[in-house]
């Protein structure tokens, strides 16, 4: 199993930390992982993306041009990465702020109202965990108990009391993702 994922959106949406939690969760499930952020001029322009690879084998290139799954959280990222999903791959997006929907017919497209659901939960910070839950529903590469362990390792100890809330958000994401094609 090798899953090559791009997560892309605005800075501040928790893109990089979602990637980190996913990577840590992968380690908890005995997988090989890599986490490669955009740290360059893009980051200074307000958009952020991270490539996460979770695999049974040693990860070769941490930098990729084609992805099994794209998790897309704003229009610029959709414009940039829709074409880079491998045929037969998956695109998961939050329709909030999306003006031109994805159009490809050769990939599986899903939507998740992450921003709305986070607002419904009364905590905008759990947005990225809702998205992570949605991703894991479609691509069940890691068990929930290892996600919880991943959270424990990637969050500082003072934030451990928030783990149940984060796991609740993961469940909300899993329950609310919709297939669009």
């Amino acid at each position: 199993m090798t899953e090559e994922i791009i997560i892309a959106g605005f800075g501040g949406q928790g893109v990089l930390s979602m990637g980190k939690i996913l990577a840590y969760s992968g380690i908890m499930q005995d997988k090989e992982v890599s986490w490669m952020p955009s740290y360059g001029p893009e980051m200074r322009g307000g958009t952020a993306n991270v490539t996460v690879i979770v695999s049974d084998e040693r990860v070769c290139s941490p930098i990729l041009n084609a992805f099994d799954t794209a998790v897309i959280l704003n229009q610029q990222s959709l414009d940039k990465f829709e074409d880079k999903v491998k045929p037969g791959g998956y695109l998961i997006y939050d329709p909030n702020g999306i003006t031109h929907k994805p159009t490809r017919k050769d990939i599986h497209i899903y939507s998740i109202e992450g921003a709305q659901l986070a607002s419904d939960m009364g905590n905008s910070k759990v947005f990225n965990m809702i998205i992570l839950g949605a991703f894991l529903k479609v691509r069940p590469i890691i068990d929930n108990k290892n996600v919880e362990e991943g959270l424990r390792h990637s969050l500082p100890e003072r934030a451990h009391k928030l783990i149940p809330l984060n796991m609740q958000a993961v469940q909300v994401g899993m329950d609310n993702i919709k297939a669009e094609n």
Partner: protein, 337 residues
């Protein structure tokens, strides 16, 4: 086994330096290596631990070249790390491998060499720190850990080395008789310097350095081969380019091409003999893949010495080649399709 962590390459390097007992640290903070300095200042290494680390990215490393030549002349152990960004000059903050010449061929003045280790993973960013200190003290010379923005910025799992105790003054005296530990009555002066105006002594000093570099060349060449057993064509790549070329090998093998990867781990001393052995085994051509306009290719060509075809492929300016285009370059430039 030590604890398993998810860390950036830069953080792993900094933590490994503390665990090796680095006492002194001189850095020039600049993207993409600023995490090293941030980490070291956060962790207060002096509270946790007679070794020195120098560290920066390309423009900062330029500023250290004068000191590196003095270190070579005076035979002082030192580990330095360059997390390379694009150049020349301030260039760009994105990954690059265009400091190969600077670190393997010189940069400072005089007939000197630095051992150059090229990590291709976060684990090797951590592992090459203790290895670097070991080699630096064994041969009394500078060891460079040459990575780039991609290896420095990415996170992978890493097992960190154990914390070593700081050497006591007695241990330093016993292990390193050349160290300046304070002259006592009745003992000889010890001088550590790169300067000697006596030509005969200076010639002998240079000969001595060359004999030492010959020893290093004989003993310390390191490299990794992937799918080279039956390969007809071989990518030569180090660091982040090696990771990408490894994927190109997978893509090529899936398409029925007999391709392999030679990954130099030491860039100096260079695995020249490994390339010659591959030619003896029937490899017909090599593609040197670097994030540069063609630097390591010169060492590949020297190793081939006309016996096999070798060309360069690489992207620059902060653009990172994709595994697909690296494979295409192999087909077009070397295999000839």
């Amino acid at each position: 086994m030590g604890e398993l962590k998810l860390m950036k390459g830069n953080e792993a390097l900094a933590e490994a330096a503390i665990r090796c007992g680095a006492d002194a640290y001189f850095g020039y903070p600049i993207t993409p290596q600023s995490e090293v300095i941030e980490y070291l200042s956060e962790q207060n290494p002096y509270e946790r631990t007679g070794m020195v680390v120098l560290q920066s990215s390309s423009p900062g490393v330029c500023l250290k070249q004068e000191g590196l030549a003095y270190i070579a002349g005076a035979e002082v152990p030192c580990v330095f790390a360059d997390v390379v960004r694009g150049g020349p000059g301030l260039g760009t903050i994105q990954p690059s491998q265009a400091d190969y010449f600077q670190n393997t061929k010189g940069g400072g003045n005089g007939d000197y060499r630095n051992i150059v280790l090229a990590p291709a993973s976060v684990q090797e960013m951590a592992d090459f720190v203790p290895l670097g200190f070991e080699l630096a003290f064994k041969y009394r010379m500078a060891v460079c850990i040459l990575s780039d923005g991609a290896i420095g910025q990415m996170m992978e799992k890493v097992v960190l080395p154990e914390q070593k105790a700081r050497l006591t003054e007695e241990e330093i005296k016993a292990k390193y008789p050349w160290a300046l530990t304070g002259r006592k009555r009745g003992t000889q002066h010890r001088v550590i310097t790169s300067l000697d105006l006596d030509s005969a002594r200076m010639e002998e000093h240079n000969r001595h350095l060359q004999r030492k570099y010959d020893e290093v060349t004989k003993n310390e060449v390191r490299y990794e081969m992937i799918d080279c057993d039956d390969a007809e064509y071989v990518f030569v790549a180090y660091g982040s380019s090696a990771r990408i070329a490894q994927k190109s090998v997978q893509l090529g093998r899936a398409a029925g091409l007999k391709v392999g990867l030679l990954r130099p781990i030491t860039l100096w001393p260079y695995p020249t003999q490994a390339i010659r052995n591959l030619i003896d085994k029937g490899v017909k051509g090599f593609l040197s893949v670097e994030l540069s306009c063609g630097q390591m290719i010169e060492d590949v060509l020297l190793a081939c010495n006309g016996r096999a075809k070798a060309e360069h492929f690489g992207r620059v300016g902060g653009i990172i080649h994709t595994p697909e285009e690296v494979l295409e370059a192999m087909k077009k430039q070397i295999i000839g399709e």
